[in-house]
Amino acid sequence: MGRAPSSLVPWLLAAAGTLLLPWHMQQDGITLRGVLALGQEDPEAASAAWQALAHGRFWFWPVVAAVAIGLPAVQPGRGRAVLRMAAGALGLAAIVAQGLAIGVQGWSFPWLEATFGDLGDRQFGIGLGGAVATAGFLFLLTDGLALRGLFKGDRFVAGAVGLLVGSIVIFTAWPVLTMLSQMFTPREGLPWTEALGVRVLDRKIWGLACVTANVNCGVFWNTLMLASASATAATALGLAFALIATRTGFRAKKALRLLTVLPIITPPFVIGLGLILIFGRSGVVNQAADAMFGVELGRWIYGFGGVWLAQVFSFTPTAFLVLIGVVEGISPSMEEASQTLRASRMRTFRSVTLPLMLPGLANAWLVVFVESLADFGNPIVLGGSFGVLSTEIFFAVVGAQQDFGRAAALAGVMLVVALAAFVAQRRVVGRRSYVSMTGKGDVGLPVPLPDGVRRAAFAIALPWALLTAVVYVMALAGAFVKVWGRDWTPTLEHFRRAFAVDWAPDGTLLFAGGAWHSLWTTISLAAIAAPITAGLGLLAAWVLSRQVFRGRTALEFALMLTFAVPGTVIGVAYILTFNIPPLEITGTAVILVACFVFRNLPVGVRSGVAAMSQLDKSLDEAAVTLRASTFRALRTVVLPLLKPAIVTALVYSFVRAMTTVSAVIFLVSAEYEMATVFIINRVINGDYGLAIAYCAVLIVLMMAAIGLIQLLVGRRRLGRRSAPAAIPVGGRA
């Protein structure tokens, strides 16, 4: 009772990372013998302590010293909090300082070289030892802080917060700041101020020539126009669908709800492909027009119109999903009150229902706006010469010019727009006080829609739903004909090229198809990332919704902010940051997994928060007053009751990892190629058949995954209370 337990585990981590394990990343992976790195001949394979002792790498002494300072923390006792904090802080500071100061070419900064002279040594990126030691020091620090009374004295909460803050810093804040700093690097003899000016004030970004002449405007205006147009159309369509689904007696409501699953399972360029097959130069419409009227419709689909159409198709389901919640959230008793006050249905709709929905409509608009901004798949497939920020960034990085400064400037502009939308969204959602949020049963029947509104909704929504179905059918049909538009012979050739399986001469199974490699890589990396995403996301959700500590709102804001960073920006930031030490993980699986985890974290957080808001807070408190440690309370009470949310988070993060493209396109390597990137490359080469065949396989896989959770989660009930699985909305790119 009241005895501070020892910090043995964190200290052992720090000590093992510093003394025993190889500090740097090993070129050929870690062998069993290489794990014990205390007496290694090769300095690059040795532990930090051995490098300092035997190889004269003095910069590791502070790290070793931190381990020594932390030694008393192994003993239980409250008074040793300061030692733990000191050891943890010193260790972290020493690791960061040496990592940033010394790179592959000796000192990383000229002024260090000027001060201390030539180092005559160098080091590569941090590996297993460094990572373990960092974790150890981090938890020593949080242990110390908790024992000083922060976080209510709870070491588990302190550790969880430390973990979250640490990962946000390493995998979001640092890369983004590194990328932004690239804007300031001097160029071609220009001083940094002028280089910055040239990059940021580029006519190609801000040009307004299109107002007066028939040329393209700057990409900023293109992006803004496209995002606003897509958001407006998708919101209007989404509202029509939402009203039909919740306020009419429409029979096929269930089928309508299926629409909400589409954006989650569809790889981001399927719609674009479908549109090409319909409206492209050899698309069915063009061919028909040519055959029947001799009219050449040309390539109008490549450009603003096509991208806009594809985005409206892609994002209407998202808007629909957001707006279902909004329409259902309006308390029927308000509308009933209006009706008893002699208002007609139309007047009720105009003066009560619509104003109550306004914040929700604004939110849906902003969600689609952000998705359009971050969208990469549709513009790359359909954009043609119409450039938007995400594609321009891509071409700045991979194109012949390879101008990272320009990519950084474009990404900076994109980041500012995304953050502005994020702030606007916070404002809108923060004010949604009048959508009744109480869980109490607000009885009453929703008022049927006025006739005019109902007719309008059906007139807009039904043709659109039909069109969506046509696009999907066309997109998939393309996988089964030889060459779309020229040779309509049915064939399975595309599938054979992608997924052929042969018997090798020695009798083993040979995955001969060209797509197998990327498919296996994608599945295995997504499978590695999913549990990490779900775990970290639920931990964040639990910390944010259940724990009270100083800085909680700041942490929440930081987390939400990282979610607002578009995928393209993250992709550029990652390659700029992680292809040099101290964290040299470009080209490895680690960077892809990290990207998946931090891009999809919102899924885990949202489903966790949704599920936890249904769990009575006094359940955790009861467990804590019953002598359970916070961790035990989480494990024995909260987690079992959160099972549906855990499964949901797992599956959705898996599915989204498989369909994402915007960030990973920068991060793939020959060894780790992703399915979506493979498909994009086929599309760019004009090989639509194989691309579509691959998309079809992905869609079937995702549908199987989603169906599986419906089976697992849908039936689960606890007592009288059921916890519905929350489908995460938005933030996909």
Binding site: M1, G2, G149, K152, G153, D154, D616, S618, L619, E621, A622, A623, V624, T625, L626, R627, A628, S629, R632, T636, V637, P640, L641, L718, G719, R720, R721
Partner: protein, 354 residues
């Protein structure tokens, strides 16, 4: 569940709680003697639940110290204090059987599962739920769930047992019998209990002492009788049951007895340290006696009289304002408008701070 072991004393010294600009509990001192049941009573938002949660360790005091059994536990978390709590919602773990729920705290403190289950069975027996261990909480009635919550808290033999509005989810009849059970259990086991409620009848029925709270501070603390018969303020008087608030004048004070003028009537009351001059007093409805007109006392007129079965109630207009009277059944026979005379009994009439 050893009888005879007396619970620990709880002492709060200058304890306060602030959330940013908002003060939930002003700095206050409070001693809860070992083995007694003390209620924190007050309207919603008065800080009583926050105070309870600070004793439990679910909230940390912004300032001041909390002692349990003489030990300073201010910086300890809930799990490190030897306290147990019964929650308003009961907070039974819905995915565990009743037995697992009751044994949860024992297993958490490191007992072997078999021993824990044995003791949990005993605890269930204590609250009259023998044989219900295998059920899920959702398969029990509200009252039974309440008992499981009590058993789960009791089985840890806590120094202090805390109740947060434990009966508010039960119907009126069940509430009555449950509060008697809780009181009987507390007295039999000699537990220290802190009990939060907003229901004054419940507080009067179960408490050794009552702490009336208002605006994040203590308005008055005392035995049920003290608070009912000698409230210190108009707020406490009206919160602890029906009371007539009257304005009078202290004409003189001698040997601790004040002579108070109410219109033409003079009554003598303990002065309670008040100087001569304008004064507030409260009178319980049953302390007022309605007599025939012309007798000694204030002249009055019946506004309405109501027959209530066991007694009668009447509203009477007097020169010092309208008053509410509870009297014998015969009172109901007085017709509205009839003239009466109103005298004051010796108990239930006190001078109060304004």
């Amino acid at each position: 569940m050893k009888a005879g072991k007396t619970g620990a004393e709880v002492r709060l010294q200058g304890v306060a709680k602030r959330y940013g600009q908002v003060t939930a509990v002003k700095p206050l001192d409070l001693v809860i003697e070992g083995g007694t049941l003390v209620t924190l009573l007050g309207p919603s938002g008065c800080g009583k639940t926050t105070l309870l949660r600070m004793i439990a360790g679910l909230e940390q005091a912004s300032e001041g110290q909390v002692f349990i059994g003489g030990e300073d536990v201010t910086l300890r978390s809930a799990g490190e204090r030897n306290v147990s709590m019964v929650f308003q919602s009961y907070a039974l773990f819905p995915h565990m059987s009743v037995l697992d729920n009751v044994a949860y705290g024992l297993v958490s403190s490191g007992q072997r599962k078999r021993d824990a289950h044995q003791r949990a069975e005993t605890a269930l027996e204590t609250v009259g739920l023998k044989g219900f261990g295998g059920r899920l909480p959702s398969e029990l009635s509200g009252g039974q769930q309440q008992r499981v919550a009590v058993a789960r808290a009791l089985v840890l033999e806590p120094d202090v047992l805390l109740f947060d509005e434990p009966l508010s989810n039960l119907d009126a009849r069940l509430r009555r019998s449950m509060r008697e059970e809780i009181r009987a259990l507390q007295q039999r086991l000699g537990l220290t209990v802190v009990y939060v409620t907003h229901d004054q009848a419940e507080a009067l029925a179960v408490s050794d002492r009552i702490v009336v709270m208002r605006n994040a501070g203590i308005a008055q603390a005392g035995t049920p009788e003290e608070l009912y018969a000698r409230p210190g303020s108009v707020f406490v008087a009206t919160f602890m049951g029906e009371a007539n608030h009257l304005r009078g004048r202290i004409e003189r004070v001698a040997d601790g007895v004040a002579t108070v003028a109410l219109d033409a009537l003079r009554i003598e009351l303990p002065d309670r340290g008040l100087p001569p001059g304008e004064a507030d007093l409260v009178a319980r409805p049953e302390a007022l006696i309605v007599g025939d007109a012309g007798g000694p006392g204030l002249p009055g007129r019946i506004l309405r009289a109501i027959y209530m079965g066991s007694h009668a109630e009447a509203h009477v207009e007097t020169p010092v304002g309208e008053v509410f009277v509870i009297g014998p059944r015969a009172l109901a026979r007085r017709a509205p408008g009839s003239a009466v005379s109103l005298t004051f009994g010796t108990e239930g009439v006190v001078l109060v701070q304004p």
